[in-house]
């Protein structure tokens, strides 16, 4: 096991990783921008290094400063968390070139899965069902029109370098393709520095189902079942749950078998998530996230596996502490992302948390980095906390979530807590199986 790990992140996930390290007996180094000097992740770490000014590109994305911080503190490994440099293959390689360990997959896998076109091709080859679409990038408008007609409109025109819901457009007809093809390419170029685009069949109102996997260096590959992340707004997940309601055990079992066979073939190391669209009984591979996910705790709760601990162990060259036979999900878990945002405009909100009192009790976990008196900086994302509730079944989990939301006190900044209550109280959510479009289409009528 490592003696010291540098956590190249901030916020709740840096706190989460720090706790896992403490429990492993591993010393921690927090890094922070000048805006984050009072942040919880700095305060709970064994050591801390200021790596730059407020802007992320000069601090949390400053690869040189991170390597230098390892050098001066003697940290042997870097945990990138999610976001920031977590899926940056060249950073992963740089870390390894400096004799340090990147706590994540091999950089080749990060690189391959980071390119959405290549990822889809690879998965297709490995037997994973994908969405019908262009075989690779589209060279020009006439090819786009041809492929669009072959697959049948509506289709989705996507930037190869996009992700997280950005860099894509629904095209309903030849006419719309004529109008939008160069616009989408130009946007892709300006947002992602790469104007490669590709086409996929547009699946209307599917669900977002993802499978958590982990592999070690000893040929062990395990899936930790699925999560349903269909409650989204602007392609951002709002509520996640595990396991997914309303999908037959047989369909799930078949999916898991395919997924395990694929990552075994890849020789995948560490944590990964394969994201699928689910529609009319069929799964379509979307992308693979080669990192820890925001919503990993719901999987931890139903499987009782500490994913961050296993992730670190595997990166340290140790075998998984469990095998597939130990993974028997029990109960139902729901995560609500508590954001600092205006409930009407959804604009991020910053400010000082005058008062914070968390929800608690049986089956309640509240992962956060805020505290009474903490000034939320406006430079970073607006996730304040994750409420994770686990009940004996889905109905129990929903009730537990509602009573927990009622217990939360966060004073000094507006949050989306009321939105969560509305979603969890709605008949459609309670029924289960809403699509990724449901929240956006119903947000104004939720009461």
């Amino acid at each position: 096991m490592f003696k010291k790990i540098l956590i190249a992140n901030r916020g709740e996930i840096a706190v989460r990783i720090n706790r896992a390290c403490q429990e492993l007996g591993v010393a921690t180094v927090a890094v922070y921008s000048q805006a984050d000097s009072e942040s919880m992740h700095v305060r709970i770490a064994d050591e801390s290094v200021c790596i730059g000014p407020n802007q992320v590109n000069k601090s949390y994305l400053n690869t040189h400063a991170l390597i230098a911080a390892c050098e001066i503190t003697g940290a042997e490994a870097i945990h990138p968390g999610y976001g920031f440099l977590s899926e940056n293959a060249s950073f992963a390689k740089m870390v390894s070139d400096h004799g340090l360990t990147f706590i994540g997959p091999k950089y080749e896998h990060i690189e391959k899965m980071g390119d959405k076109i290549q990822a889809k091709k690879i998965m297709q080859k490995l037997g994973v069902p994908t969405i019908p679409g262009s075989e690779g990038k589209i060279e020009n408008l006439s090819d786009a029109l041809k492929i669009g007609n072959e697959i049948g409109f509506p289709i989705l025109l996507k930037a190869a370098a996009g992700g997280g819901g950005r860099g894509m457009k629904v095209i309903n007809s030849e006419k719309e393709m004529n109008e939008n093809f160069s616009i989408v390419r130009q946007e892709a170029l300006s947002f992602f520095g790469n104007d490669d685009v590709y086409i996929e069949k547009f699946i209307d109102a599917p669900r977002h189902i993802e499978v958590q996997v982990i592999g070690d260096a000893f040929g062990n590959f395990v899936h930790l079942h699925e999560r349903d992340c269909s409650v989204q707004r602007r392609n951002q997940k709002v509520i996640e749950e595990a396991t997914a309601p309303g999908i037959s055990p047989e369909d799930k079992a078949q999916l898991f078998e395919t997924v395990i066979s694929a990552i075994k073939e890849m020789g995948y190391l560490g944590l990964g998530t394969l994201e699928f669209l689910y529609h009319k009984g069929k799964f379509y591979f979307m992308e693979m996230n080669t990192r820890l996910q925001v919503e990993h705790p719901i999987t931890e709760m139903i499987t009782r596996i500490d994913l961050v601990r296993e992730q670190i162990s595997v990166a340290a060259g140790e075998p998984l502490s469990f095998d597939q036979s130990k993974i028997n999900p029990l109960g139902h878990s729901i995560e609500c992302r508590i954001n600092a945002e205006d409930p009407q405009t959804f604009k991020p909100s910053a400010g000082t948390i005058n008062l914070f009192h968390p929800p608690a009790g049986n089956g309640v976990r509240f992962d956060t980095f805020i505290y009474s008196g903490y000034k939320v900086p406006h430079y970073y994302d607006n996730l304040l906390a994750k409420l994770i509730v686990t009940g004996r079944d889905r109905e129990h989990a929903i009730r537990r979530a509602l009573r927990s939301l009622d217990e939360i006190i966060i004073e000094g900044t507006v949050t989306n807590i009321e939105l969560h209550k509305k979603i969890l109280s709605s008949e459609e959510f309670k029924k289960g199986s809403v699509s990724i479009k449901w929240l956006e289409e119903n947000i104004s009528s939720l009461t």
Partner: protein
């Protein structure tokens, strides 16, 4: 905003009240005398929890330099690394306390990722104090030296 010579607000009185607030660890003071009435208050919780949480882990910093963190007379480290005060072991220091420095003059070298980075002075004047020692690890923004 009021112009300099016609200040409407008696800043001095407020300052005095704030000092009293701090000294007596209050969260609020109101004071009225004659036609003057002032009330000042501070978010006591913030201060309190931060003190408490800091107890277990004060971010690394030398006691000697923390007071200068935002002092405009200070040259701060522009990067994370190991600081060297001379070009090689046995050589003279780039700068000694009491020396005059010019802008752009190399004052220390910071090693990061096996690369030696000469750090140039951002100030001009007499070096009053050097906060770092040779081969000390420095973080971003850490005071290196005080220049008058």
């Amino acid at each position: 905003m009021a112009t300099k010579d016609t200040n409407i607000i008696d800043k001095k009185a407020i300052k005095e009240l704030v000092d009293i607030l701090d000294e007596m660890k209050l969260t609020e003071v109101s004071y009225q005398k004659g036609d003057m009435a002032i009330s000042v208050s501070k978010g006591a919780i913030a201060t309190k929890i931060q003190q408490e949480i800091s107890q277990s882990n004060e971010p690394d910093s030398n006691n000697s330099d923390t007071d200068y963190k935002n002092d405009p007379r200070v040259i701060t480290s522009p990067m994370v690394g190991t600081v060297y005060l001379q070009a090689e072991p046995g050589a003279n220091k780039f700068v000694n306390e009491g020396d005059q420095v010019r802008k752009k003059q190399t004052v220390v070298i910071i090693e990061a990722m096996k690369t030696m980075n000469p750090i140039e002075s951002t100030l001009q004047g007499k070096v009053l104090k050097i906060f770092v020692e040779n081969e000390e690890a420095v973080e971003f923004g850490q005071p290196i030296m005080l220049v008058e």
